[in-house]
């Protein structure tokens, strides 16, 4: 059957500001938003959007569907019988059509040092028990899609906020038994733009396609940061 979709269009070289256009696409029970966008691109080759894997792994196809952040490849037209309005991810600058500038998000990610920090010498593997793995595994499933940043009203108000995915990733490495970098990451968590900008709205966890639950990670991070403050109060100033 034919379905009508409305898409936000913006060409920075021609348009003063974004506007919406209506398209007709063919859809059945298996048609995803990404499929529909590809049909639109065949009608109008100048239409731009990001995608790669088509299977909710690469995290590049995030868009707003009727105002809610979604992965295009994991969202189906059959669930929107009254129609869809597709706009670029909120809280990011639009570059063209549905493409946003993800640079601020990537900067926040790298600021929390999202890698194993371990100074141990040698070639031995770092073994880990299933119990040690279970501590952080949920928080390790992030695909860096950025949907949680579009869902977060605090990131919308304050783009300097490190944000859900970055803080969840910091928590993931802090919980990893092979990691020794917690002391290096805590200053970022302890800061105003770290965990303390979060007011536990929780929409990030609702929209996360990988059930990472960044809101839980951030609020566990608040407990860690509060503990860190108490510990630091008993240390000489130079050691803080």
């Amino acid at each position: 059957m034919t379905q009508t979709i409305v898409i936000a269009r913006y060409n920075p070289e021609l348009d003063e500001k974004p506007h919406q256009e209506t398209y007709q696409v063919q859809s059945d029970d298996n048609t995803s938003v990404l499929d529909a966008l590809q049909q639109v691109q065949q009608q109008d080759p100048s239409f731009s959007f990001r995608w790669s894997c088509r299977m909710a792994i690469c995290g590049s196809c995030g868009v707003m569907v009727n105002g809610v952040p979604k992965l295009g490849c994991q969202t189906f037209l059959r669930d929107y019988p009254v129609g869809l309005v597709i706009t670029p991810l909120s809280n990011f600058a639009v570059e063209k059509d549905l493409i946003v500038n993800m640079e601020p998000f990537l900067e926040h990610l790298s600021a929390i040092k999202p890698w194993l920090i371990n100074t141990a010498e040698g070639t031995q593997p770092h073994v880990q028990t299933p119990k040690q793995l279970a501590k952080y595994q949920q928080f390790a499933n992030c695909i860096n899609c950025g949907l949680c940043y579009s869902a977060c009203p605090q990131f919308g108000l304050n783009p300097e906020f490190r944000g859900p995915a970055a803080l969840a990733l910091a928590h993931r490495y802090n919980l990893d038994s092979r990691d020794q970098g917690k002391a290096q990451r805590m200053p970022e968590l302890n800061a105003k733009n770290g965990v303390w900008t979060c007011t536990f709205v929780g929409f990030c966890s609702e929209v996360c396609p990988k059930k990472v639950d960044p809101a839980a990670a951030i609020n566990q991070g608040k407990v860690e940061s509060a503990k860190d403050m108490i510990v630091s109060a008993f240390k000489p100033t130079g050691a803080r």
């Binding site: 900067e107 600021a111 300097e160 290096q184 200053p187 970022e188 105003k192 770290g194 303390w196 630091s232």
Partner: protein, 125 residues
């Protein structure tokens, strides 16, 4: 933007957040019981006036547990819930973009500190 080259300043938010959390527990656990007994059951006559007699309340507030029961009650039913409430107001003002920055903060938490001091003062004197 800071990429870990220089360390950002530690936020003082853990203090307010801890008071907010403690106040939230009091709000959830203690306040409903207090309201039920003082504002519902008592006016309905389901608690005898005897239970809230001056002598009994005076004993509970100033003498029970070496007088600490009154202190605990003032802290848990007034002071901590106050900090809980102003924390919500403070963040609400920021979320609505009506006020943020140090002035709003001083007014909000200052109000909680002042009202707590009055409540504790009434208990002490």
């Amino acid at each position: 933007m800071n990429n870990g080259t220089k360390q950002p300043k530690r936020s003082d938010e853990p203090i307010w957040w801890a008071l907010f959390s403690a106040g939230g527990v009091c709000f959830a656990v203690l306040i409903p019981g207090v309201l039920l007994s003082l504002a519902v059951l008592y006016p309905l006559g389901l608690i005898s006036a005897e239970m809230l007699s001056y002598e009994r309340i005076h004993f509970m507030v100033f003498e029970a547990f070496f007088g600490l029961a009154g202190l605990a009650f003032v802290g848990a039913a007034i002071c901590l819930p106050l900090f809980h409430a102003v924390h919500r107001i403070h963040h609400g003002l920021h979320d609505l973009q009506w006020a943020h920055g140090p002035v709003a903060k001083v007014i909000c938490y200052g109000a909680a500190i002042l009202m707590s001091a009055i409540a504790l003062g009434l208990w002490i004197f």
